[in-house]
Amino acid sequence: MKKGFEDRIHDIPLPAKARGEVPGVCSVERSWDGWKLTRRDLMGLVAAGVFAGLPRTARAACTTGAYAHEIVVGSLSFSPDGKTLVSAGRDRFVKFWSIPGGALFRSVATADVPFQVAVSPDGSQIAVAMDNGHLELWPFAGGTKRALQGHTAAVKGVAFTPDGSQLVSVSLDRTTKVWSVANATLVRSFTDSTDTMLQAAVPRAGLLRDVSDGRRAANEALAPAQSYLVTSGTQVYLRSLATGAILRAVAGKAFALNPNGEFLAADDGTKLYMYAFPSLAPNASVVQKQNATSLSYSADGKLLSIAYTGAPAQLYSAPDLTLTLETGASAGANLATAMDPQNQYLAVASGQSILLFGLPSGNVLPVCFMDVAASSPASSGIQYLMGGVVYTAGCTSPIPDGGVCTCDCVPGDCPCVYDTGCSCDSDTGCDCDTDTGCSCDSDTGCECVGDVGCSCDSDYGCGCVDDTGCGCDGDTGCGCDGDSGCGCDSE
């Protein structure tokens, strides 16, 4: 008898027990040459509830190949009324989507790669921070863009003051600048000698506690309006909005301020912290060991969403930092998360896609944010004309007001003619081994992502378009490229 395989747990030889060794787990992700394993802290994962049978949300409604942006989505921001989501993609487009329908109703090309978009508190303006020092203010409803000139390198972060009168920007040129929104002029500029700042926020004024003694402000006089500024680079810095002076620094990179200005949540790649604000006294922390890219509070301050580059976004209750939901499989790097001011939705940028979740349940909503220009040719959707531009939305998305159906279009009831309803998503096998079942024919088209031999149309496989398909044995065959005959010799 030939010896068989010995994969059973009690059969496999293990190295000798090392002194002080503790059980550990690894995360796995695809790398260009195979798989990349990263050691993870088992107890940290346990503490975070990863093994506690957390609910995992289902996937969103897009058919395969339907995307919001051609390249990854880098930033999301809701309008104050919660009816519009603005996204910025590395494909140099800022796009406007109706909420909750997910229909694209405006797409605007940017001067350079946008890193962050922010909608002003009154919803009238959009600030777009871009590469190569470009910073612009756009009227939300459309119109003339205003350039804010002064930065000399990529503008990585931007934030409006709570009253909307000023805009703060941070840049790789190591300056933090304060701008007048009304005039589009520079008000102040601080040199960031300590760190390169990547994110900025200005807390609400009225409910602040005084930084000097941490007591809650009895009135606004103790905490003058907009007196603080928070920026982050390798740490999170509490600064004076008037002078730029750093008042305190704590661990954290990506951060978010809760709507009432009482707490600041930050993540430094090893832990998630909850600080009291503005004292920045630590309140709670959770071991994370994942690189958070974006944090966002719900309007009521009770939920905190976190996006990670290499893992699905998570939802925590705040301020106690109890993990309540993992949002399921990612469609790529998750660079942004946002929660709507009406406390109803969570949006997560996942690769080229945007996922929308209901709050507080965290259930994924059947909404597809789809732009035909960014999607594979065969991905299905409804198509409509609005403002002279043809847009395509996912099958489940309603057509926005003012849109006129143009193709495959039944408002609210997309026929999705190419989609026969195969539910093989997320399954690499699809398991149609008898080959009569799976009807995943919503073909998304070869994307040649690996570039290991996509054979372009001009290369292989001359289709002999005039060939009538004679199968006769005597047929000498289509000669491709220039063969005008292609005929069936024996006919």
Binding site: C26, R40, F51, G328, D433, D475
Partner: protein, 485 residues
């Protein structure tokens, strides 16, 4: 093609021991539970505490821990594996869940009552593929007679009625090109339709073809059949090097025209690629080409079998195939979605690789019944292990040899000692019986395909973990034994 028959389940078998466990009984003939909610529980009513766990090295000091019957996996260090040998932490136990740990041990009972027929219409072929497992075209041509086809159709339709099935299936295959016996293909299909109509059944019909078809035949297929499986090797120059007409002329242009015709009609088809040692380096290009230009439902890539005309060819079941397959999947999302290899199918939990152990009903041109469509000729090697029936004299049905059909029914992974310790056994299920006999007729002792199955199944597990957040995977699976009863 799967003949749907009664399946009995041998419960109480401990998958870790590969033998009947004590005290739970092992009743022959017990019918399978049709509900997937059935759970194995111990005498206190709790789920089994220790799942069947397999461990594979995946890094310098990392190990993939896989529980196939609980559909769970994670990667840990040696200390974690040691901990799990002792039962593991409560958190890990919670991750593994309390799923049904019952091994998918099921096999048909009683005389075969198939509701699907594979008609092997002829061994003649219009191509002379260099690796043809059946060496088609080298033997005197044999053609099925119309009464043979009608007898098989009547038999499966009657079984469908008796078993209260809603449909029956007629598939055209062959150790040759079934379309060369075109008249019978047409006639038998129309006959099957009439039988289906008369009995209030739905007919499902498909064709396996080399795709070298004339336009009128393509049109007929599109208009009459449900689906087709087209043998095509990808890039035209690869196809033309391997799959030629007797004259030596390549077949790519004609098959490409067939694929285009199928696409333009929205017809359902899949592509079956044979990969040789010489063409493996071009597999990625071939798959990319097919994905870009055509709309198949699936692309199955298999290393060439060293059988028939390919018996002297260079071994293709090698690490080169594994890397070529991986590279092909990386070419696009579509390729990753469509590409298949028959032995690596993580989504399936079963003890049977294919219908051979489940009363496949393949009728040879001479009218005899084989359990395997690849064993289509009574003179082929090992034919005596697969041919289990023949037309019953004086009746309209078939008579079967219990010794033969029980022999192939018993060829399931739960009875393969060599596979007992393999992590992929409940998805690969012991691979192809016919090919295994060509490797080693005395006993199953693995082959190059085992390494392919193991490597690609491991890839699928890692993909599952990565797609589930990167730390652990907990999924569900189709339990074939229960679904197909």
């Amino acid at each position: 093609m799967m003949a749907g028959v009664e399946v009995r389940e041998e419960e109480g078998r401990d998958p870790r021991m590969n033998c009947p466990s004590r005290g739970t009984g092992n009743e022959e003939g017990r019918r399978a539970h049709k509900s997937s909610g059935h759970r194995a529980r111990n005498h206190r009513g709790h789920p089994p505490p220790h799942p069947e766990l397999f461990v594979l090295p995946v890094g310098e000091a990392e190990y993939l821990v896989y529980a196939p019957l609980r559909r769970a996996a994670l990667i840990g260090n040696a200390a974690l594996v040691r901990s799990m040998r002792d039962g593991g932490s409560p958190e890990i136990a919670a991750m593994l869940g309390d799923d049904d740990e019952r091994a998918p041990v099921a096999r048909p009972a009683g005389p075969p009552r198939p509701i699907a027929a594979t008609l092997l219409l002829t061994n003649a072929c219009n191509l002379r593929c260099r690796y043809c497992y059946a060496a088609a075209g080298e033997r005197p041509p044999a053609f099925m007679r119309p009464e043979t086809a009608r007898r098989a159709i009547d038999f499966v339709a009657a079984n469908a009625v008796a078993r209260k099935a809603r449909s029956f299936e007629v598939t055209y295959h062959g150790a040759g090109e079934p379309a060369l016996h075109w008249k019978l293909l047409e006639e038998s299909h129309l006959y099957a339709r009439s039988v289906a109509k008369a009995n209030g059944l739905r007919l499902r019909s498909s064709l396996t073809t080399n795709g070298a078809l004339a336009a009128d035949k393509r049109a007929w297929i599109v208009g009459h059949l449900d689906s087709a499986n087209v043998s095509f090797d990808g890039l035209p120059e690869v196809q033309d090097a391997n799959r030629r007409f007797p004259s030596g002329r390549g077949s790519s242009d004609i098959v490409l025209a067939t694929l285009r015709a199928f696409d333009s009609a929205g017809f359902r088809y899949s592509i079956r690629m044979t990969v040789t040692a010489g063409t493996a380096p071009r597999l990625a290009q071939s798959v990319a080409f097919l994905c870009r230009r055509f709309r198949p439902r699936a692309i199955q890539a298999e290393p060439m079998y060293r059988m028939g005309r390919g018996r002297e060819e260079e071994e293709a079941e090698t690490a080169v195939f594994i890397e070529a397959y991986r590279a092909a999947r990386r070419t696009s999302r579509k390729a990753a979605r469509l590409l298949r290899f028959s032995g690596a199918r993580l989504g399936t939990v079963t003890n049977r690789f294919c219908g051979v152990a489940n009363d496949n009903f393949c009728v040879s041109p001479a009218g005899n019944v084989s359990a395997c469509h690849e064993v289509a000729d009574e003179g082929q090697p090992f034919a005596e292990r697969f041919f289990y029936g023949r037309p019953a004299a004086g009746t309209s049905g078939f008579e079967f040899d219990p010794e033969v059909y029980e022999g192939v029914r018993a060829r399931t992974v739960d009875r393969l000692e060599y596979c007992a310790g393999c992590f992929a056994k409940w998805s690969c299920a012991g691979d192809c019986y016919n090919k295994a006999l060509h490797w080693n007729a005395a006993e199953f002792a693995g082959a190059g395909r085992c390494e392919i199955v193991r490597a690609l199944t491991k890839d699928q597990i890692l993909e599952k973990i990565a797609a589930s957040g990167g730390v652990f995977w907990k999924g569900s699976a189709e339990r074939r034994d229960e679904k197909r009863i």
